[in-house]
Amino acid sequence: MSVLLGTSALSQSVAILLIGAGTTIAVSLAGNALGLLIAVPVCFLRLSQARAARAMGIAYVSFFRGVPLLVQLLIVYYFLPALDLDLPPFMAAAIGLGVCTAAYQAENLRGGFLIIPKGQNDAARAFGYTRLQTRRCILIPQALRAAAPAIINEMILILKASSLVSVVGVEDLMRVSQNIVARDLRPLRWYMAAAVIYLVINLALALLGRAAERRLSVGYAKVVL
């Protein structure tokens, strides 16, 4: 009987752990997607010819890169309700991760734009591409390809940083493993399990990233140094 109970408690804990892992994946995916969406306009602000636009880009990056993520999460979670914006914890966490990572991704992306020869922009405009078309069809694909490894670096960092979102009440992998440990007092087993799950998610992310790089590199010769 005790054996049966033991297994059922164990299987229950494993199920809870996997649900937590699902939450971690969902919140960090949402945060990363939002971050990339915000990063594109921030990056264009930073690259702009206009001094005021550049200053806005620099200000965004230095605030969100300079203030610790934990503080940003607490601000989103506790200050936005004060403005009558009541956010569920999951949304607050995704937004907090997103606005923070956008600062880093904007810089990663900007590096990719810097190395594109100026002539390509001029040529595209001469062919009658609008400014928006030039960006979408000519510049962004090349910048993405060059910046992809750095972008994946940051996505992995955000996945690991998502262990902080439990402070705003999200039941992520870290929080549920703490809960399980509080109940059955086997820290080594459950924290190791959590660590392995984080590692597996990161490996999958890295593999996806390299697949994306290959996709973006179609038509490029393999560089022989």
Partner: protein, 226 residues
């Protein structure tokens, strides 16, 4: 006010020592990360499978696990396999090995971004591989790498605070100790945050200066004048 001054005379020296140690560990850890990352990135770009597979495993392990877990492993697990390191060495090596995994990817991206035609041209001019890397690849690679590297240097700076958990007596460790002895929390931690922020802004500023310098060849007006 007088209370603040007496706090400063009591804790001043150890705060300065903590600040010195934070900067020292950050700079030497980052130097190790950049140097090792460059070598690893080069191997990932040119090596055969026998070389790239172990390097890939290194990158995925150090990038895929949290820095704190790696530090615990080195500091508390190390003695059980006969490696006993003092806290500062663990800090520098931990930060360096961790950062190198990220820098390897940044440099790999840099090597991949060089147009093939340039390298063919350099080869037909008879430049050796060392010279191709030094004069053709590196100046262009750095333009792509600087923004991402500034990101990473800032992340590594903020991560030095984690070292306080494995008893490295750096700035966060000293400030935490001070708050526990004096029961004042807001001012010391606010000052701590401001200090880290000032350092990150300094790195960002130096990064922007470096970009201007390295990107000279990309600006047509300069090219025409030169």
């Amino acid at each position: 006010m007088s209370a603040d001054l007496s706090l400063m005379t009591t804790y001043g020296p150890q705060l300065i020592e903590g600040f010195r140690l934070t900067v020292l560990i950050w700079l030497s850890g980052s130097a190790l990360a950049v140097a090792l990352g460059f070598v690893l990135g080069l191997i990932l770009s040119v090596g055969g499978p026998a070389l790239t597979l172990p390097v890939r495993a290194y990158v995925e392990f150090f990038r895929g696990t949290p820095l704190l877990a790696q530090l615990f492993l080195a500091y508390y697990g190390g003695p059980s396999i006969g490696i006993t390191l003092d806290a500062v060495t663990v800090g520098v090596c931990g930060l360096g090995l961790y950062g190198a995994a990220y820098f390897a990817e940044i440099f790999r991206a840099g090597f991949a971004s060089i147009p093939e035609g340039q390298l063919e041209a350099a080869r037909s001019f008879g430049l050796s591989r060392r010279k191709r890397i030094r004069y053709i690849i590196l100046p262009q690679l750095l333009v792509l790498a600087v923004p991402a590297s500034v990101n990473l240097l800032i992340i590594l700076l903020k991560d030095t605070a984690i070292l306080s958990i494995v008893t490295v007596p750096e700035l966060t460790f000293q400030v935490t100790g001070m708050t526990l002895e004096t029961f004042t929390f807001v001012a010391p931690f606010a000052a701590l945050a401001a200090l880290y922020w000032a350092l990150t802004e300094l790195v960002a500023f130096l990064g922007r200066r470096a970009e201007l310098r390295l990107g000279v060849y990309l600006r047509p007006e300069v090219r025409a004048a030169g």
